[in-house]
């Protein structure tokens, strides 16, 4: 067990963890402790925006585990993210209590509006924080388990698997749009008031949410690193590169994929749960197939199969998106499309992948030069010996 964690602490992972944890401490401190007119002050809206990016980064990390290491291109990871978000949203709705527009102490506003007489059975328990947090993991995990059980057992692979993951998130999108599903239909869940008794609008709460997002990202990075550096992780890469070889070595490929897919879905659920209180709303739009595809873009831009790359990719692309949508709103989508084409053409390994590859190539070159020099000096010694004779 200690070996499992210890192995995870490879050089660049330690650096990334240190940076993420540093950000978790510094950003909230600058928000809370500096006066608003100070140059170092980070306004709350900016902090929440960054918190949102961190949630996206966690989602991209989750995708990297299945896509980058196991070769499963999931085009439906947004679904797990949204389900985690809905679980958190349901808790937040129940915290509103009688403060809603209709003042019903039990039923959220949209239920009163839609003439619900009592709370649907699946809303029970969500007033309890621990239960809701459990559901943040269980609901996406269970969906991933059921989906993966059938898909991996019947050996659905490659583009076919991608298409059905896309269909899965689309089906959920349609379902959640329906008012009689009991999740607020088109409008989703919003007007949140408290989380654990603290106002979700308050600077202090926002700061804590930001810090928790960063810490969860760090923990998940640590877990993902431990997984990919274990023998299991090597088997994962084996599944990606030569699935039949893994199978003929006696491994149960379907179990390996299932485990990874479920862990990844749970990480995506955590990301969604932290996203919702920071943006203040969750609606069926989060299930949109385009969202899941965007996650693939972030991961590819950063460098799949590197863990750190997708985090960087998600942060960069989203920061770019915020900037471009403000500065040049009409060209943002072209910029995103162009970016993906450019990365595919010129940086097929992504940013971190390209750096890693360049570094390795230089190392190899250096080693070769060293060997050459070694031989050279051996020759000089031999010549010297000859001269001495």
């Amino acid at each position: 067990m200690s070996g499992f964690v210890f192995r995870a602490l490879e050089g660049r992972i330690v650096i990334a963890l240190a940076i993420i944890l540093g950000v978790a401490a510094v950003v909230p401190a600058l928000n809370l402790l500096t006066p608003p007119d100070s140059t170092f002050h980070i306004p709350t809206y900016a902090m929440s925006l960054m918190g949102k990016y961190l949630c996206y980064a966690l989602l991209a990390l989750a995708l990297d585990l299945v896509w980058g290491y196991c070769g499963i291109l999931s085009l439906g990871h947004g679904a797990f993210f949204a389900l985690g978000g809905y679980a958190m949203g349901m808790y937040l709705m129940r915290q509103i209590g009688p403060r809603g527009v209709y003042g019903n102490p039990v039923l959220p506003d949209f239920m009163v509006f839609l003439n619900y007489k009592e709370l649907p059975w699946f809303w029970h328990g969500f007033d309890w924080f621990a239960f809701a947090m459990l559901m943040v993991l269980v609901v996406p995990g269970l969906l991933a388990f059921i989906f993966g059980w059938f898909a991996f057992r019947s050996r659905v692979n490659g583009v076919y698997l991608s298409i059905i993951t896309q269909a899965m998130t689309y089906a959920l999108l349609l379902a959640f749009f329906r008012n009689d599903m009991g999740f607020g239909g088109n409008n989703g869940l919003t007007d949140f008031k408290d989380i654990l008794g603290f106002s979700v609008q308050a600077d202090g709460t926002r700061a804590v949410l930001f810090a928790v997002s960063a810490i969860m990202l760090a923990l998940c990075l640590l877990l993902a690193s431990a997984i990919v550096r274990s023998k299991f992780g090597k088997v994962l890469v084996g599944v990606r590169d030569a699935e039949s070889r893994v199978r003929f070595l006696g491994f149960r490929v379907e179990n390996i994929k299932l485990f990874t897919f479920v862990v990844s879905a749970m990480m995506a659920g955590i990301a969604g749960a932290l996203f919702v209180p920071q943006v203040g709303i969750i609606n069926p739009g989060e299930f949109a197939p385009a969202n899941s595809i965007e996650v693939v873009v972030w991961t590819a831009v950063g460098g799949r199969g590197t863990l750190i790359g997708p985090i960087i990719g998600a942060l960069l692309v989203n920061a770019g998106k915020s900037f471009f949508t403000g500065a040049f709103p009409e060209i943002w989508l072209f910029a995103l499309g162009g970016l993906f084409i450019a990365v595919t053409l010129f940086l097929p390994r992504g940013i971190v992948g390209a750096i890693q590859h360049g570094y390795k190539a230089r190392q190899a070159l250096k080693a070769a030069a060293e060997a050459e020099k070694g031989r050279g000096s051996a020759e000089t010694v031999a010549q010297a010996a000859q001269a001495a004779e």
Binding site: K231, F232, V237, R245, F248, R252, I256
Partner: protein
Amino acid sequence: MNTIAETRSKSLLYLENVSVSFDGFKALNSLSFVVEPGELRAIIGPNGAGKTTMMDIITGKTRPDSGIVLFEDDIDLTRKDEADIAQLGIGRKFQKPTVFESHTVWDNLELALNRDRGVFGTLFYRLTPDDKARIEEILETIRMTARRNDLAANLSHGQKQWLEIGMLLAQEPKLLLVDEPVAGMTDAETTETAVLLKEIAKTRSVVVVEHDMGFIRDLGVKVTCLAEGSVLAEGSIDFVSSDPKVIENYLGR
């Protein structure tokens, strides 16, 4: 003449009247074939004779339409899948060398090692001194000790073939199925591979499918010639290669 029951009781692998067809094409046509413990057997035959299909059936990749496939007398292989069969002790080398290209030679062997293959077993696996010694030993056998830290992607074609054989050894199988091990190898590599396979066959049964008649002669073992999904002839290489049916179907005049 031995009765069928007697043949079965001392066999490691026993196939009787196995048939399978794909879209009406009979890939195997009531094929019967027995491998005894510790035997090294060569299989020859023209393209489409059913050599690879036979391996697919033994390793659980394909289910036969009819017939009996038994391992160690009483294990029905037609009811098991690839992972089960690999765990029972049947290893398979593919026609095209299939190794994990983005792993080092060492990691390739470590993954192949016959240890707990479950999710949690592999998550918390630690390399023990025993396992280390075993990998060193295999590296020695396949003559790749010096290349242990190289990525498998950087190996030559012949070395990949050998690494794959090494991975099969790490699996500690009772039966090794080897599909065209010397395809694309130089003459020197071919000769060395024959030595390696003979070495391996000392401790387990090996079935080799090969087209290279010189290589089969080097092996000097019992040969089975397949054609159109069934056994055409079986015996020593000289006996089989002088059989008129074999000459007509495979060797050519």
